[in-house]
Symmetry: C2
Subunit: 645 residues, 2 copies
């Protein structure tokens, strides 16, 4: 194991450099920073104590480089958005309550002010939010509506007599629910509500609403309750908010995309109500990116612990009766951990590419609405696949450590409980994959922003005849690899990198085109549009997964190709092979059904996964060292026990 003092494994270092990517300096700085609040709390901390501790950790982060990175220089930040999200990702190796609470305060609350507000909000609130002098909440979800944000019930009604907005929760279903910060700390909430001006509703907008006074008492008309105990993230004070005709000045409307002028008229730079809504939501993409990043980090923490345990723990003897078998020498154990390790590599590199893309699109010149839609779809898809991967991987790692894995002192209890909600918050994963499918069918054309998801999908299906795969990551490099591939048939295709990518892309194209054909066949009968869409939902989700498989693989391949020659790159290439082969193995029924693999080729894929597991086994330690998680961040009781034997 690499510790700061032990001699470094040069291969691990080479690979770590690749994984660290563009914001390597941020990562290295945080690894070496003794004040980075990454330590996990003592066991069985009381709820109040845990919440206080989490808030204190967020105060340590307040105003730091990576918090200021979230905001452009003209608003008082550094504009290093990529560094900012990378910093939050690093927090994901520690106490996830801190990561989430920091994400809510600086990313969501601060982000809403920064992205949806204008100068008056930036000047009044932004520094206070980033310095945590103004603890905030992001009040979007309601008890009755989570995924369907457009149907939120809370209203913000303009009263022309007083020039105020009246915030109101008309029913129990309108209660703001699961709101981080609401139960204990937040003094102001960014409240999403239907904006009603002159008796007319203009759809969901965001309004800053004070919810507590300086003494922490609820403001008049605001009812605050505590969500109480949750499965995990115990340090985050989730609560509920009900508003009973709460009045705030009109100026509290975050008015970048929709405003009320002095004579009480609603105006917006975006005419279409739907497009306005999606544009507002789109600015908040970094929340999803952060959740995906944190999930990936948590999965890498779990794998590091489980692989190191598997390399030390023995059980049952060799037939010679003299030596016990190291459990990672069992093929079954390798199959549990190593394909998930390979996939963690793929997802980490895809995450890096996504962060870079977000950074460039935000910081640089705007490259048009299509590019933003593509980013949003990719962020949605990567969040979905990474959070599911994390849930699955942490579970597998827990089981791989047996009874020891169940003890809280060995980290999996918190990793599992804290990350569990990632699959459904910041967008339910299934809904997010539908968003991906929408993008695939419409090629991110903004023209479809006026349709809801199912409408856009059906409309897109009518237009699409041949899907065009855009190699969004490493475009020309990927194109060159595909062109240079030796064969296109089963084993051959999988033997070289270009063939592997083409194999994934072919699955994506076929699933997309057949989906479009299937949806088109149903005709234009509007009354059937729900059943047409619904009957194909499994196909649609499969197409979205296939798309993400291809996008993720391209990120992995690009990183391997761009890495400097050497043993690090060679090992990385083998990890990429395992990722490819185990993904194909998982979907081999599809490849068989569609004549892409013969029966014997499919069996060959299984055999090749076994071989690759056994070939990578001697490098397992190097591969988790390369994640670059400092030992001090991952101390466990079970490793100390093994050392005492």
């Amino acid at each position: 194991m690499a510790t700061s003092d032990s001699p470094k494994d040069p291969v691990a270092e080479q690979i770590r450099t690749v994984l660290d990517g563009r914001w390597a300096e941020v990562r290295q700085g945080l690894r070496a920073d003794p004040d980075f609040p990454v330590a996990v709390p003592g066991l069985e901390l009381g709820l109040d104590e845990y919440r206080a501790r989490t808030l204190a950790s967020c105060h340590e982060l307040a105003g730091s480089d990576f918090v200021l990175g979230a905001v452009p220089p003209e608003q008082g930040g550094t504009g290093d958005l990529g560094g900012s999200v990378t910093g939050l990702e690093m927090l994901g190796h520690g106490d996830l309550s801190v990561m989430i609470k920091a994400g809510v305060q600086f990313g969501l609350f601060g982000g809403a002010i920064s992205n949806l507000g204008t100068a008056r909000h930036h000047e009044a609130y932004l520094q206070d939010a980033l310095q945590l002098d103004l603890p905030g909440a992001y009040a979007m979800t309601e008890t009755g509506h989570g995924s369907d944000v457009q149907s939120l019930l809370t209203t913000a009604t303009h009263d022309p007599d007083t020039d105020e907005l009246v915030i109101h929760s008309p029913s129990p279903a309108a209660r703001k629910d699961y709101i981080g910060g609401a139960a204990r700390d937040a003094r102001m909430a960014a409240v999403f509500a239907q904006l009603v001006v002159g008796g007319e509703s203009h759809g969901v907008h965001c309004v800053l609403v004070p919810i507590r006074d300086e003494q922490g008492r609820a403001m008049p008309g605001v009812t605050i309750t505590d969500c109480g105990p949750k499965m995990g993230l115990r340090g985050v004070d989730n609560g509920r908010l009900m508003f009973d005709g709460v009045r705030v000045p009109r100026q509290n409307l975050l008015n970048r995309y929709g405003d009320i002028d002095d004579d009480g008229t609603y105006t917006s730079p975006i005419e279409s109500r739907n497009r306005r809504f999606f544009t507002m939501l789109g600015t908040l993409v970094r929340g999803r990116i952060t959740v995906g990043a944190g999930a990936g980090a948590a999965a890498r923490s779990a794998l590091t612990v489980a692989v190191r345990y598997g390399l030390r723990r023995t059980q049952f003897s060799y037939p010679d009766g003299e030596h016990e078998v190291v459990i990672l020498d069992y093929l079954g154990h390798q199959r549990t951990l190593l394909p998930r390790l390979a996939r963690s590599y793929a997802l980490a590199l895809a995450q890096n590419a996504l962060i870079a893309r977000m950074h460039d699109l935000t910081v640089g010149e705007s490259t048009g609405e299509d590019a933003h839609r593509e980013l949003e779809a990719r962020a949605a898809g990567l969040k979905a696949v990474t959070t599911w991967h994390a849930t699955d991987t942490i579970q597998a790692c827990r089981e791989a450590c047996g009874g020891a894995g169940y003890m809280s002192a060995n980290r999996f209890a918190d990793l599992k409980a804290d990350t569990d909600v990632f699959t459904t918050f910041e967008g339910d994963n299934t809904i997010l994959l539908q968003l991906v499918a929408k993008g695939m069918l419409t090629n991110y054309q903004a023209d479809f922003a006026d349709l809801d998801t199912s409408g856009a999908i059906l409309f897109g299906a009518r237009q699409l005849t041949t899907s065009v795969i855009e190699h969004t990551i490493g475009g020309s490099l990927i194109q060159r690899l595909i062109s240079g591939a030796s064969g296109r048939d089963g084993d051959d295709a999988l033997r070289d990198r270009g063939g592997q990518v083409a194999f994934f892309a072919d699955r994506e194209s076929h699933l997309t085109e057949s989906l479009a054909m299937r949806l088109r066949r149903a005709g234009d009968d509007e009354s059937k549009s729900f059943s047409v869409f619904n009957d194909a939902q499994d196909h649609l989700l499969e197409a979205a997964r296939a798309h993400m498989d291809r996008v993720v693989l391209e990120a992995f391949v690009t990183a391997v190709e761009e890495a400097p020659q050497g043993p690090g790159r060679d090992l990385l290439a083998k990890v990429c092979d395992l990722h490819v082969l185990s993904t194909v193995e998982e979907h081999r029924a599809w490849y068989l059904e569609h004549g892409r693999l013969s029966a014997s080729q499919a069996k060959g894929v299984i055999a090749r996964v076994n071989e690759l597991c056994q070939e990578l086994r001697p490098h397992a330690d190097t591969l988790v060292d390369a994640f670059g998680i400092p030992d001090e961040w991952l101390t466990t009781e079970m490793m100390a026990d093994l050392a005492s034997f």
Copy 2:
């Protein structure tokens, strides 16, 4: 929803009768028993308080009918073993800490005394154990050895001078670990240790060792530590035990299968050391059966909550814009919940058949060692597949309830955390599946009991040419169905029940025969035996899973066939179809690779699963009502919220 007051759904009642099975009376009695300690504790109970509460609940159970059922009449019990395990299964719908602590006290500690001890132990301790006047622990697992019980390091050495046994932990790896009851309550432990008599080791035996005095202080030489916080099962006081030359009278040896006579000589009715070991362990099969039963119960609780939520919760509107869609109307949501619901039916019925078999074998005349080995293998396999099913299903149900599913008040937090360890305790699932494979290759012949698992598997492989599928559940009925099946080819085969069973059995036979062939091909070179076994481990595990799929299906089919004609049976038959088709869908790559399904037939299976989901959707409420879990046992905050909208 069925409440005790609401009019019953007759179809749900018909199906419940089938699910309740042979011990329906026990189930009905406990459902109506207001003192049955099934209530879950208030949220955020402190650890000490929770442990005290759990002990108190066990006191309520002490001496009750189903506790006394675990012990035969000649030992002072009622001998209703089936009723006893069924009662523990019902506890599985409530607080799982109570189920596990009760299982440890009455099933494991009491069971060790009953099954491994003789009259002197029965008279001295058994009633006290069953009445909880003597809180006990079952000290098998050590920090260094869990699955490999034969390699335990703790020693029990006979001292002829004092005629005592000296219990000793020679190293940190010998520490007894994760021992339920050890941290707080247990006064005596059933300690598994290498028995050394006259300087010779006779393998693992069990000795009763007092660990605390009446005042709760650790006995001299016994060091007790607390395992501290765990992922779940917070009410169970798991602890660690170290023994430093602790002396107990020779009579404390549980001596049914191995004894030390008055002149200090070791004797045993079983000559072979290996067979003796497996016979001793075999008597403890009910622990595994109970864990599988509890896992199944927990999965049914989770499905009941998630299905009812899915039938009330709406999200997104139909294209008419007026109505919101009930989320269980989405195909994706149906696919998440309904195949798992069908599988829960299959596993519940297989569990009933297993409990009945155990009961008959224990209570009736012994029907030979083979029958016991078959029971052990089936118990091992069903525990593995049911606990994995529970982990997967509870997770899916949590996600199906979104953010609400994450709140502790909605039950999934505890269900998930409490059941998590089931996949690795009472036998790691992977090891258990290897045990199943061993039985498949050796046909449970006792001759192989002298070989360890890998040895037996290799030996069995050398003998096996054609595997013989024994239809252990509903034998002649199943045989008749298979003979009467119309076709054997893809779709046709899956259209009638006999064909479905044959389709599963064919997969099992082929996997078993090809495994045997593969292992044989490697020859007799002993030095290669580990690598031969290890290289085929994935194949071996797959064969074991296929075996369990067939065994579980036969239980389901038998229950359907034996049910009285009527709408309940018709609906049950459709659930069975979904179980069959979704299982085939999951393994369709194998069926394609082995020419059992054509590509178009495989696609047909996917389409048929979708159809069955949609056909069963209107009956979802009936199907969870039929689980017969009283509403009062499953109260959740989120259902109350939905009712308030």
